[in-house]
């Protein structure tokens, strides 16, 4: 019968092969068995699992394997097994820490946490988080931790950068929003002159052809109101982001669709002699109001981000 590698097999083999032997022979067999068990233990240590969940059971089975050996042999093997177990656990722990370390250097943490945030916000967050990191690092070093451990602990104290990123985006302008806010600080004269020229052209046509047409007059008044509203939104000089860049963006689209209408009225009037632009004007004014409401919602969000904080004061 083979002695095998399982403790049951070894014990059975020992019982079967030492029964009735002379004491000297039995002792010789016992020594051989001990050597065999030691070899089995060493072989098994060389192939210990790397999965932490399996390691506990594995090392327990090795301790069981040597449990019945004489104390002097068992103690040596127990020490060997325990040392290997510690090394395996340390390797797992170090692997986890190295993995975390690779994932989150301070720069990579900041890169994730401030992704999409405008430059101004990025700089403030970087300054504050770096100071936090240095404080935590120094504290770890003062406690006697090795530098690598102190770094890991400091990074852990910053928390999950992905969750931080969500929070930061609620409080800071994104790059796109900052670009919008920057672009609307000045009056939009170009669009204004374009609309004014078009209105004047229409007005002259109305005046020449149909000043007795009350509906046309009413439409002209409505268009003047539209122009005034547009001028108020686009030309007033306001604090940053009090007029959202979204308005400008939406309005370009709106203008593209709506502004040709007055030209159609003029063309229609020239060919038919009838001027009835009121429906088109109504659609135009309603369209502008719709754009203003949409932009206003976004504007409120951006303005809160910029102007929500009180002015910074030194103590």
């Amino acid at each position: 019968m083979s002695r095998g590698d399982d403790i049951g097999d070894i014990r059975r083999w020992l019982a079967e092969n030492t029964e009735g032997l002379e004491p000297a022979e039995a002792e010789k067999a016992r020594i051989e068995i001990e050597r065999h068990i030691a070899d089995v233990v060493r072989d098994r240590l060389a192939t210990a699992p790397t999965n932490p969940a399996e390691q506990v059971e594995y090392y327990e089975s090795l301790h069981d394997l040597v449990a019945d050996l004489p104390p002097e042999t068992r103690e040596d093997l127990d020490l060997l097994i325990s040392a290997d177990e510690r090394m395996a656990k340390d390797a797992v722990r170090m692997g986890e820490r190295l993995s975390r370390l690779r994932s989150w250097s301070l720069d990579s943490w900041l890169g994730v946490a401030t992704k999409g945030i405008c430059q101004e916000g990025k700089e403030r967050i970087r300054e504050e988080i770096s100071a936090h990191y240095l404080d935590a690092l120094h504290e770890g070093l003062q406690q006697g931790l090795p530098k690598i451990e102190a770094h890991i602990k400091a990074m852990e104290s910053l928390g999950d950068p992905r969750k931080a990123a969500k929070g930061f985006r609620r409080n800071y302008l994104t790059e796109k929003e900052a670009k919008w806010a920057e672009g609307v600080k000045r009056p939009q004269w170009g669009s204004f002159w374009g609309i004014l020229a078009l209105t004047s052209f229409c007005g002259v046509n109305f005046g020449v052809r149909a000043f007795d047409n009350s509906l046309a007059m009413l439409s002209l008044v409505a268009f003047a109101a539209y122009l005034t509203l547009y001028a108020w939104v686009m030309l007033r000089v306001v604090p940053r982001a009090a007029r959202s860049g979204q308005f400008r963006t939406y309005h370009r689209l709106h203008s593209l669709v709506m502004l040709p209408y007055p030209l159609f009225w003029v063309l229609a009037a020239q060919t038919t002699g009838q001027i009835s632009p009121h429906r088109a004007l109504l659609a135009n004014v309603l369209g502008l109001l719709f754009v203003m409401i949409l932009a206003g919602l976004g504007d409120a969000r951006i303005t809160r981000k910029i102007h929500g904080a009180p002015p910074k004061r030194r103590p």
Partner: protein, 103 residues
């Protein structure tokens, strides 16, 4: 432990005793809670900046040990909100305790 919901109150409370920077706020909350409340969820600074946007705290820069630090302090509005939320929290806490002990 998840700090969501209670973090603004804890931040305001930590600043009641005087201006502090973010790391000091985190340490104080962790120490006073005997390590139960920490900021591994990555929420301290977003929450601080949100309180600042709401006008409950204000920040300023100050040099400490040769390094520029951003300190936070309570505003008058912050003190009022702290007093209100503290009262509400105590009331809620008592109510929950009554319910749990009653069960």
């Amino acid at each position: 432990m998840n700090l969501k919901g209670t973090l603004p109150l804890l931040i305001l409370h930590a600043l009641e005793s005087g201006p502090k920077h973010g790391y000091r706020i985190a340490c104080e909350i962790k120490a006073k809670s005997k390590g139960v409340l920490d900021f591994k969820e990555g929420t301290l600074y977003p929450a601080l900046h949100e309180q600042e946007n709401k006008g409950l705290v204000e920040s300023y820069e100050q040099t400490e040990n040769g390094r520029l630090r951003r300190y936070y302090r309570l505003t008058e509005d912050g003190r009022k909100v702290l007093a209100k939320e503290r009262t509400e929290w105590r009331s809620l806490s008592r109510a929950v305790t009554h319910v749990l002990e009653g069960a």
